[in-house]
């Protein structure tokens, strides 16, 4: 399931695993929380429900938005703030939120 994640992300996951006594949180959780203000806590409401969406579709949408005119849509502007690795982590997080 983590094949989209980079080595750095997996390393981060490992750190979480070693330090937490219970199940570790997803390494993309706090990063993905940047989306909650407009897409609801854990992506469950708001402009577009992200909870349970496939990681590949979230990734593709973000990449498309990055290439569109920034001032035409707030997400076109917003998408530019996240690296490929970050988008993959965010997408993976939402894909695993129970829907």
């Amino acid at each position: 399931m983590y094949r989209l994640l980079t080595a750095a992300s997996l390393a981060a996951l490992l750190v979480y695993s070693q330090t937490a006594s219970a199940a570790p949180p997803h390494p993309g959780r706090v990063l993905a929380s940047n989306c909650f203000q407009c897409h609801g806590t854990d992506g469950r409401k708001g402009f577009e429900e992200l909870a349970g969406k496939s990681a590949s579709s979230i990734y593709q949408e973000m990449k498309e938005m990055q290439s569109k005119a920034a001032d035409k849509n707030i997400m076109n502007a917003h998408a530019r703030g996240y690296s490929d690795d970050e988008i993959r982590l965010i997408a993976d997080y939402f894909s695993k939120v129970p829907h």
Partner: protein
């Protein structure tokens, strides 16, 4: 005897924090084992065991404090006891409050309570006025003392007191409440200013002054000028809006606001940058108020002076915490822990973080802080290597159009600050539109839900 010493130590801290070494005492250590927090039964939203154990007291129930409370429970789990303190039982939203001024909404519609935080997340809410804070030291709890004598204990303390206003020559709090409201902390003054605008004569003059940055909500004053101008055009023909800005230029969404001032509201808004406020003379007999700047004196039928800002009193009362010019709290933006007092965190408008002072980003600061604390409380002290935040906001330009602004911030490890990600802002909307106005309502509802529900 010990009890008396304990009170005495707190007494010494009445003006703010005492130094950690002053706070070390047997009584306090003993008390730390029985924190006053008794959280209610957890719902399924709060995990039972994340490995995090501790207690957190949060001072201030605004956008930052409320969000931190929710996410500490959501991410920290049921063994992280969270107490949220505010002097008011409800929160009045600053966001959207300019729309009270044109009658589109009311303060009661912009009022939020803490019921969901307590019932669904098991946060303990305490209404009270904070008069002293003793920082936690290691695993020894710190404490927050209230004016009525109650003391709350926490192994971590978050301060989210928002802003305080500087004095304006010629204005007292009573004059502000009754004659020249700032309406920059939403509430009774917002309603007062709305009523003054509604009762203003046609052909009258509304004057507002904008303080030097940093102030809360960078686009907010310009948005206010637009909303008021739009209202006056339709309801009080011939009226003018004079904007006296202490800053050298428009501080946010410059393209949209310049278009609004020069085209949309041309002939109504008279925008004057670089105007330092020197004094106000209030008329309490119904005459005009005088407002004097470096460029001269103007006379207003309705006067709205927004004073310059500083961090909340609990911060500025303690010079150690207010380590940025004595006015703001320096923080490590990877966790929002104070750069001078360990185990005390400052989020929202009181923090000096390189980011704007606004509700949307305060929400995100709170989540980064909650994540760092939840991890610390299970022994993971690894700093977040790449904290990310975003600022997004919509600004009404008329009664049914709005623009927007967004910036994504990333961590500059060299300067230890949050900086705009290259290419990711500030970016503003191509134009003010009705679609943006509708999006604004959805953004606001979702944001408030992420913080309070």
């Amino acid at each position: 005897m010990k009890r008396r010493q304990f009170i005495g130590l707190f007494g010494a801290s009445a003006l703010g924090l005492v130094l950690p070494e002053l706070a070390l005492g047997e009584d306090r250590r003993r008390s730390s084992g029985s924190t006053t927090t008794t959280t209610t039964a957890s719902s399924s939203l709060v995990p039972t065991d994340t490995g995090s154990v501790g207690s957190v007291v949060i001072v201030g129930g605004g956008m930052a404090g409320a969000t931190a409370a929710k996410f500490l429970r959501l991410w920290g789990g049921s063994n992280v006891q969270v107490t949220l303190v505010d002097q008011n039982a409800t929160y009045s939203s600053n966001i959207m409050s300019n729309l009270v001024l044109n009658g589109s909404t009311t303060m009661s519609q912009l009022t939020y309570n803490y019921n969901t935080l307590t019932s669904a997340y098991g946060v303990k809410f305490v209404q009270g006025s904070v008069v002293g804070v003793v920082p936690p030291v290691g695993s020894t709890a710190g404490s927050v003392r209230l004016a009525d004598g109650r003391v709350l204990f926490g192994t971590k303390i978050i301060l989210a007191p928002g802003i305080e206003f500087d004095d304006v020559p010629g204005l007292t709090p009573a004059l502000q409440e009754n004659y020249v409201p700032h309406a920059w902390r939403a509430g009774a003054q917002t309603t007062k200013l709305a009523s003054q605008i509604r009762n203003m004569r046609a052909g009258g003059t509304f004057i507002m002054t904008i303080p030097a940055s940093p102030y809360r909500c960078p686009p907010g004053p310009y948005e206010r000028a637009c909303v008021v101008a739009d209202y006056l055009k339709r309801n009080k023909p011939g009226s003018r809006v004079i904007v006296l800005d202490a800053n050298p230029f428009i501080q946010a969404e410059r393209t949209n606001f310049e278009r609004a001032f020069n085209v949309t509201h041309a002939g109504v808004i008279d925008y004057r940058p670089g105007q330092s406020l020197t004094g106000v003379t209030v008329s309490i007999t119904g005459g005009k108020h005088a407002v004097t700047t470096s460029s001269g004196t103007e006379y207003a039928d309705v006067l709205n002076v927004i004073p310059s800002h500083r961090a909340g009193k609990i911060i500025t009362d303690n010079p150690v915490l207010a380590n940025v010019g004595g006015r703001w709290a320096g923080v490590d933006v990877r966790s929002y822990e104070s750069t001078s007092v360990p185990n005390v965190y400052v989020i929202g408008d009181s923090a000096s973080s390189g980011q704007p002072k606004a509700g949307h980003i305060a929400n995100q600061e709170a989540k980064l802080c909650a994540d760092a604390i939840a991890r610390a409380l299970r022994g993971d002290l690894t700093p977040n290597p790449a904290p990310k935040t975003n600022s997004a906001c919509y600004s009404p330009i008329t009664a049914d159009t709005a623009s927007w602004l967004t910036v994504v911030y990333g961590y500059d490890a060299v300067n230890k600050k949050m900086v705009a990600v290259p290419g990711a802002g500030p970016i503003e909307a191509a134009a003010a539109t009705q679609d943006n106005f509708n999006d604004m309502k959805k953004w606001f509802a979702t944001l408030m839900s992420d913080s309070f529900a």
